[in-house]
């Protein structure tokens, strides 16, 4: 698909070659002999579902992971990155999804971190530094103030600071991991212009994303990974959307949609939330409240989706409901007509809530313990008498969880850390179902799990809704959100901007309401005026 004359620059020496890269995390192989070539001046989109190994592959290139198999060649010479510093010396810079700026330092201090402009000995020459920073930022169309701490900047501007940092480091290869996940439409467009400009100057750019529109807007070449394997590399000019989706998903998308939720069940509300708010823990930040004015109701059997960009307060909303921010949050919450005190997870559990967190490894599971020990954790007291755990009860609970959720495991003793992502997620959900909740809060339930497991989770969500649970779903994947939700509440910078019903679902509408500066539904606009 490549015509040779497209690559006039050093045809035999791509800027970066990765050959036969394999990497395991514990027993799971996340990359299987992946090859990739990056050329100067080329914008190379790296695509794949969550958990396909995109980020891991690029972390290896950027020296953030040094324990892998395979070879890396920079400009044709073998080069084994052992640290980010090493990679920077080879001209590779990576902008991670979670930005790595020091929030308390000013823009220029961040840009020149580690290579400060010094006057004499070790006195930093701030003036010169600010001037130099302005120089670097000018072509990037940056409008913020340079002497302010970056914490005060909007995410889009912070992103530009990261780009500037890479430019100062004279990066020849710039890797961007989902750079637009927190940006509004305008900011994304501006970022694309910057990217194109950089590519024209000969920088090789890797653009990790799973948003089709963006990829077609900026990329020259597309590489698709699936389950850690290199599926194919195409020119963006000739590739079709359908083809890429098929490569990413491994089968036609229709199949998955068919397993989605059926119809809305209109019952009386199970969960009623009014005027939820949450203080920002950092007092210097631009927004004093991370969540405000959030109100909604969810009926039994209904799935309410929460949409929004990164940092819109979706996860925080769930956390407040589950009592994780007692003291700094508030609001009126009722479950089946009974008031819920937003005190702590113990109270939330007793009130019939269950929270499946975004990061199951960090917050959901005891990875070093077996399936049985994880499954019983929230309901241990039900199988104990006088504080002594009954072995039969334990075996029964584990067996039930494995059977009901369809967890693939060698046995109830298998360590949670050695399960695949999908099975781990089922275990987390299963653990909570044992508490017989009335309200299920799901935060990114399909993050980092493979396609097959995703379909199973979708089906599970459908079944649970049919059983009458009230479900609140947060997910960054718009197709998933529109597939599973009965209604969608859109949040923007902590405030609701729209409540959409199924007929109004479309990616454009959701993004319009989610983007800063976009429109607001009249009902929500009035609320803001009233404030």
């Amino acid at each position: 698909m490549f015509s040779p004359n497209e690559q006039t620059e050093s045809p035999n020496h791509p800027a970066l070659q990765m050959r036969g890269i394999s990497k395991c995390f514990g027993p799971t192989l996340v990359l299987k002999k992946v090859d990739i070539d990056l050329r100067s001046g080329e914008i190379h989109a790296l695509m794949g579902e969550n958990g396909a190994g995109k980020t891991t592959l690029m972390k290896i290139a950027a020296g953030l992971i040094d324990d892998f198999e395979g070879d890396i060649f920079v400009e044709g010479k073998p080069h084994r990155m052992t640290s980010p510093r090493d990679a920077a010396r080879a001209g590779i810079a990576m902008i991670q999804q979670e930005l790595s700026l020091v929030p308390e330092l000013a823009v220029d201090e961040n840009i020149f971190l580690g290579q400060e402009k010094v006057r004499s000995l070790f006195f930093v020459d701030r003036e010169q530094q600010v001037r130099a920073a302005r120089e670097v930022l000018r072509p990037l169309d940056f409008h913020g103030r340079i002497d302010l701490p970056v914490a005060k900047l909007r995410v889009g501007e912070q992103q530009l600071v990261e780009v500037a940092k890479a430019l100062v480091a004279k990066a020849r290869i710039l890797i961007m991991d989902e750079p637009t996940s927190a940006l509004s439409i305008n900011e994304s467009e501006r970022l694309f212009q910057v990217i194109r400009k950089l590519a024209k100057e000969g920088v090789a750019i890797v653009y990790i994303s799973h948003r089709m529109e963006e990829v077609f807007a900026v990329a020259d070449t597309v590489t698709v990974l699936r389950d850690g394997q290199h599926i194919g590399t195409l020119s963006a000019k000739v590739a079709s959307r359908r083809e890429i989706i098929r490569m990413m998903v491994g089968r036609e998308l229709q199949e998955m949609i068919a397993s989605g939720k059926s119809e809305t069940t209109t019952q009386k509300p199970v969960l009623e939330v009014q005027d939820l708010w949450l203080e920002n823990p950092s007092p210097t930040a631009a927004r004093p409240l991370l969540v405000q004015n959030v109100s909604f109701t969810v009926a039994g059997g209904e799935v309410l989706g929460l949409a929004g960009l990164l940092g819109a307060g979706r996860t925080e909303t769930l956390e407040v409901l589950f009592g994780l921010h007692s003291g700094t949050s508030g609001g009126h919450v009722r479950i089946e007509g009974k008031d819920v005190h937003l005190l702590n997870p113990v109270a939330a559990k007793a009130a019939g809530m269950a929270l499946v967190t975004e990061d199951r490894k960090r917050d959901g599971l005891v990875l070093g313990a077996g399936i049985d020990r994880n499954a019983e954790l929230a309901v241990l007291r039900t199988i104990a008498a006088f504080g002594l755990v009954s072995t039969e009860g334990e075996v029964e609970l584990a067996a039930r969880t494995i059977r009901d959720l369809g967890i693939q495991a060698s046995g109830p003793r298998q360590l949670a850390g050695t399960l695949s992502g999908g099975n781990q997620q089922k275990l987390v959900i299963g653990k909570w179902l044992l508490t017989r909740p009335r309200v299920l809060l799901l935060d990114e339930p399909t993050r980092g799990i493979d396609v097959g497991a995703k379909a199973e989770i979708y089906r599970l969500i459908g079944t649970l809704a049919e059983q009458g649970l009230a479900i609140v779903l947060v997910t960054s994947e718009l197709p998933e959100l529109t597939l599973l939700s009965d209604r969608i509440l859109v949040l923007r910078e902590g405030r609701p901007t729209a409540l959409l019903n199924r007929a109004q679902f479309s990616h454009e509408t959701i993004l319009e309401f989610a983007s800063p500066g976009g429109s607001v539904q009249p009902a929500f606009a009035e609320m803001e005026v009233a404030q």
């Binding site: 698909m1 490549f2 040779p4 035999n12 020496h13 791509p14 070659q17 050959r19 090859d35 070539d37 070879d71 060649f73 044709g76 073998p78 080069h79 084994r80 590399t233 589950f322 994780l324 997870p345 113990v346 939330a348 559990k349 007793a350 929270l355 967190t357 960090r362 917050d363 959901g364 599971l365 005891v366 990875l367 070093g368 313990a369 020990r373 019983e376 954790l377 929230a378 309901v379 241990l380 007291r381 039900t382 199988i383 104990a384 008498a385 006088f386 504080g387 002594l388 755990v389 009954s390 009860g393 653990k431 508490t435 017989r436």
Partner: protein, 431 residues
């Protein structure tokens, strides 16, 4: 055949701790000097029972330390706690009337009675049943009142009894009740500050270590050095039971140690409390989100650690016939070393009481062997340090990875001669 071999291999790996102890024991036998009668000194019952007596103080502290470390914490204040225990114990034994020690111990004892009943009675009440799908979160108010009333009655009894003892000085039962109560309260204070102030256990217990040492010295009064305890002359004779040998071989402090190991080993294995301890150490956030009272459990664990450490202080007083504010210097480090040798992970969530038992014994036998060989005490320290490092290195099983990393460091990336060719090949595949 291969299956059997691998099963045996796994078995040896899983029980390597015991093999380490066994190997050390063999070293002890073969390196031991022989006495005049031609008997192996190391194997003599007297020597063996000596070892058990010597390790029991460290062992009791290590039991509490194991619980703390399993939750991912650390308790540096146990040495001072033991010193405080020994001073309070000695003063209660040798001085009658209201002294500093009795002024501290009796109100604390009363408080502990009330608090434990008010807390434990409802807890037991809601934990009686099994099989109900939704556990009861709060006991009925009648049960709670019963707990409080029971606590007050118990406290009054305790005060009446202990104040009665003041006239004649405390007996052995008196100190065994009052001193652990003091440790329990100070330990709970550790836990309270750590959980409610959201501070690092290291910092908090370090501060408490210093502060409690000061309290121990202040209590002791102007001659802060020692409070000698002479049973029969300045203290009651029944206190001697704590330094006796049962059947001429089993030292009483050793029995205290073994009981502590058994009780808390059992608790760790089969109780909800034990499960929660492992869960908190394994992933505190997951435990918290599962609706577990993480803070309360941590406070309880630190309280138990304090209680055991002050009990060790009582045994110290019995063994050395004195209460001394400097009794426990370095005890925290010995306990941590024993726990770690026993394979308990300092990050929490992994380890066992059996491991700690073996760790304590390894530590004890090692000291004994070196002593029998008459090795200079400073050399002993160096050797002990080396043994701790070696044991942990073996326990954590990271040797393989270390070896691989060393090899990778020296391994030169083979320059592929055919990079150009390889690249061309890939171009063709792309086309």
């Amino acid at each position: 055949m291969k299956g059997i071999a691998s099963t045996i291999g796994k078995f040896i790996l899983q029980t390597k701790l015991f093999w380490g102890l066994a190997a050390l024991y063999l070293v002890g036998i073969f390196s031991s000097p022989v006495n005049r009668k031609g008997l192996n000194i190391f194997l003599e019952p007297g020597n063996q029972s000596d070892v058990l007596r010597q390790v029991s103080n460290n062992g009791i502290i290590a039991v509490g330390m194991t619980l703390v470390i399993l939750t991912g914490g650390i308790d540096l204040s146990v040495g001072s706690m033991m010193a405080l225990g020994s001073v309070v114990c000695a003063m209660l034994l040798t001085q009658e009337g209201w002294t500093n020690a009795s002024l501290l111990a009796i109100p604390i004892l009363a408080f502990v009675c009330i608090f434990l009943c008010a807390y434990l009675v409802p807890l037991i009440a809601i934990n009686v049943h099994r099989g109900s799908a939704k556990p009861v979160e709060r006991a009925s108010s009648r049960v709670r009142w019963f707990g409080i009333v029971l606590g007050i009655i118990l406290a009054m009894l305790a005060v009446w009894w202990t104040v009665g003892q003041l006239k004649t000085k405390f007996g052995v039962i008196g100190v065994l009740v009052a001193v652990p109560a003091v440790g329990l309260v100070f330990g709970a204070l550790n836990g309270l500050i750590i959980t409610k102030g959201k501070m690092q256990p290291f910092i908090v217990t370090l501060a408490m270590m210093v502060a409690i040492l000061g309290i121990a010295r202040l209590l002791g009064g102007s001659n802060m050095a020692v409070h000698p305890v002479y049973t029969g002359t300045n203290a009651t004779e029944d206190f001697d039971i704590l330094r006796a040998l049962l059947f001429q071989v089993i030292p009483v402090p050793g029995i205290f140690f073994l009981i502590a190991v058994l009780v808390f080993g059992f608790v760790l294995k089969v109780s909800t409390f034990g499960r929660y301890i492992y869960a908190i150490g394994g992933n505190e956030q997951a435990a918290r989100l599962a609706g577990i009272h993480v803070d309360q459990l941590k406070i309880a664990v630190f309280a138990i650690s304090g209680m055991l450490a002050s009990t060790a202080g009582v045994l110290y007083t019995a063994q050395y016939r004195q209460g001394k504010p400097d009794a426990g210097s370095g005890a925290e480090l010995d306990a941590i070393a024993a726990v770690v040798i026993g394979g308990t992970n300092l990050m929490g969530g992994r380890g066992s009481m059996t491991g700690t038992l073996v760790g304590v014994l390894i530590f004890g036998f090692l000291g004994n062997i070196l002593q029998l060989r008459n090795i200079d005490s400073n050399t002993q320290l160096v050797l002990k340090g080396g043994i701790i490092l070696a044991a942990v290195l073996l326990q954590e099983g990271q040797l393989g990875v270390l070896w691989k990393q060393i090899r990778a460091y020296f391994k030169v990336v083979e320059p592929s001669r055919a990079i150009g060719a390889q690249s061309r090949q890939i171009e063709e595949v792309r086309k």
